[in-house]
């Protein structure tokens, strides 16, 4: 049942992506339709997650395929919240296709990656996973915002006026939103790492085991912390801030792309 829902969700996200492109291309960024179609996708997506949650418990989200499902859900939800306040239709043009790809990838991966041992199914699991994923979702959006910033900035510098970019938000808004996402993302990431560490300490007795995921998260955490610090104290902003934000997300992303494959670990589903 939920597999059908996920398939439908993916379809709606694809349609939504097309509508984002269409309306941005038509210079009609005020149209509510793209965001509405994305919301419809999110609704179905939520249903699918609830069904899976009811059937298999929250632990299911810790596995690769389901993790993607949960992450894309968080990303779309956070984006829609931002859209409510900031009207960043252009960002939807990145979020919607990404959400589509993540759903398709989730379907392709299916339920691979083993089972979570019963002993691990404590409240720490949803707490740690939700916080960590939420942080990632916020940083993913910061990545998108930075990308749009760089495109807009480049065109202004090179004095090239292509039609599509005329509908991009002003640099000032993008920069402010970038900071806002950083301000939210960093504490979420911090809490994600803390809860993970505490959980590990309680369950396995070691708070920090130098796992690849821990190392990459640690690097990303230091990196984002440094960006946030320079933004607040040293007046880091604009192009450099956007570039660094994107690099930070690449560190996060890097682990997801090859981390589990090359470095089997608890995060990769080996819990013993």
């Amino acid at each position: 049942m939920e597999v059908l829902f996920i398939k439908l969700t993916a379809l709606i996200y694809l349609f939504s992506a097309a509508s984002f492109f269409y309306f941005v291309f038509r210079r009609d960024t005020a149209s509510p339709w793209p965001a509405l179609s994305l919301s419809a996708g999110l609704l179905l997506h939520s249903l699918a997650l609830v069904i899976r949650f009811a059937n298999e418990g929250f632990a299911a989200v810790a596995l690769m395929g389901e993790a993607l499902l949960f992450k894309s859900w968080l990303m779309v939800a956070v984006y829609l919240l931002i859209q409510l306040k900031y009207r960043l239709t252009v960002l939807g043009g990145i979020v919607a296709p990404l959400a589509f790809l993540m759903c398709v990838a989730a379907l392709a991966f299916g339920k691979s990656g083993g089972e979570v041992p019963p002993g691990l199914e404590t409240f720490w699991l949803p707490l740690h996973v939700t916080l960590a994923f939420l942080g990632n979702a916020v940083f993913a959006l910061a990545f998108g915002v930075s990308l749009i910033y760089l495109l807009q900035e480049r065109h202004l510098k090179h004095k090239k006026m292509t039609g599509l970019l005329k509908r991009f938000p002003p640099l000032e808004s993008l920069d402010r939103l970038n900071l806002l996402l950083l301000v939210w993302g960093f504490p979420l990431m911090t809490l994600g790492i803390l809860t993970g560490s505490l959980w590990a300490g309680i369950h396995w007795g070691d708070y920090w085991s130098w796992e690849p995921r821990q190392i990459s998260s640690g690097i990303a955490w230091l990196f984002y912390g440094a960006i946030l610090h320079s933004r607040i104290t040293a007046g880091l902003r604009g192009k450099k801030a956007a570039l660094l934000t994107m690099v930070g997300f690449c560190v996060v992303l890097g682990y997801f792309l090859w981390g589990d494959t090359f470095f089997p670990s608890r995060h990769g589903g080996r819990f013993q």
Binding site: L156, K157, K159, G163, P170, E172, S173, R237
Partner: protein
Amino acid sequence: MVQKDIVIVGLNHRSAPIEVRESVAFESDYLRDALSRLHNYPSIDEGVILSTCNRVEVVAAASDSATAYQDIGSFLAEQKSQYNGLALDDHTYRYRGADAVRHLFRVAASLDSMVVGEPQILGQLKQHYDAAQQAGSVGTILHRLFHRSFSVAKRVRSETGIGSGAVSVSSVAVDLAKRIFDRFDDKTVMLIGAGKMGDLMARHLQSQGVRSLMVTNRTFERAVELAERIHGNPIRFEDFPQYLKMADLVIGCTGAPEVLVDAAQVEKVLRERKHKAMFFIDIGDRRNFDGKINDLDNVYLYNIDDLKNVAEENLQGRSNEAAKAESIVGEEVQSFLRWIGSLEQVPTITALRQRFDDIRRGEIEKSLGGGLKTLSAEQRAALDDMTTAMINKLLHSPIAQLKSRNDNDDEAALYIAALKKLFDLEGK
């Protein structure tokens, strides 16, 4: 009923030089008067006068377009009496029927404007239409025609990019500023030089919400003068570099031969303002700002040539969109003609039925008075029913044909003309 035609006689920026246009222009105070004079011509059933700085046109609904052309010609010539120059005819264009409808739609959609896509023309059209309506010179046809033209203009504006992109130097600069900054009420503008161009740009930015404005000029008195006019703060020319760090937008419009602000200076200022973005707009006769400023992060420099290039590109973009707009106009002209056509169909059908029924009644009466004198009341009623049914059956196919011709105007007109001639419906 005789078919009414739509007639336009006019002159615009392409057909006539400004002196000629001015000589026939209608002052808005006299418009009402002029409209009633126009309406007094027997050939003009309905009339609207459109008079802007780029065009003077008379749009009319008339039964006889040839006479209407002549009458509008002399109406305009009368207006022009104070002008003793070339003959007006050389500068006017005339349209009727579909061409007239197309012309008006193109005017409304700003396809016929000097700057294609400029938005003012629609408002002017509405204004002149309202004036005509108040003067009582508008009837069914022009009412429909003008309202149609307004919605065509809206459709063109929303479905094409014809009005998008700024096409003047100062509006391009404001457009660019809007892509850098998202609000202007917390921004400060520094205007270096008291030239006319800078004045204009400053006002343009004020209309976007800029409240804080510094004005500097080599002659301090001129800075004070301009600052007073545009509600800014005058600053001595020697002092302006110190104030630079407060400025988010810097406009240079001096004729100075040397560079007023160089990159090293801006780099220093940037550190002081924690790298908050700056926008330099150089509209001086010579370069007021060092070109290397644009290489610094968070700083954007556009000079007059850059701004002109953008305006040029936007204008080019508009003319590309114009092709789309033309096809929308084409569609709308067809649909309007269908409506005009349908105005004529109904009376023709009614007249046709009437004609047949008249003949039927006449013949029945004749027969009942002669060979069929002996028929009973029931038989008479049956005879009446039978002949009515016969005529209905005979007419069914031609009327159905006529009604279904809606989508092909030429053919519909042909059928209507043929029916009128064959059954002598004219004048009924």
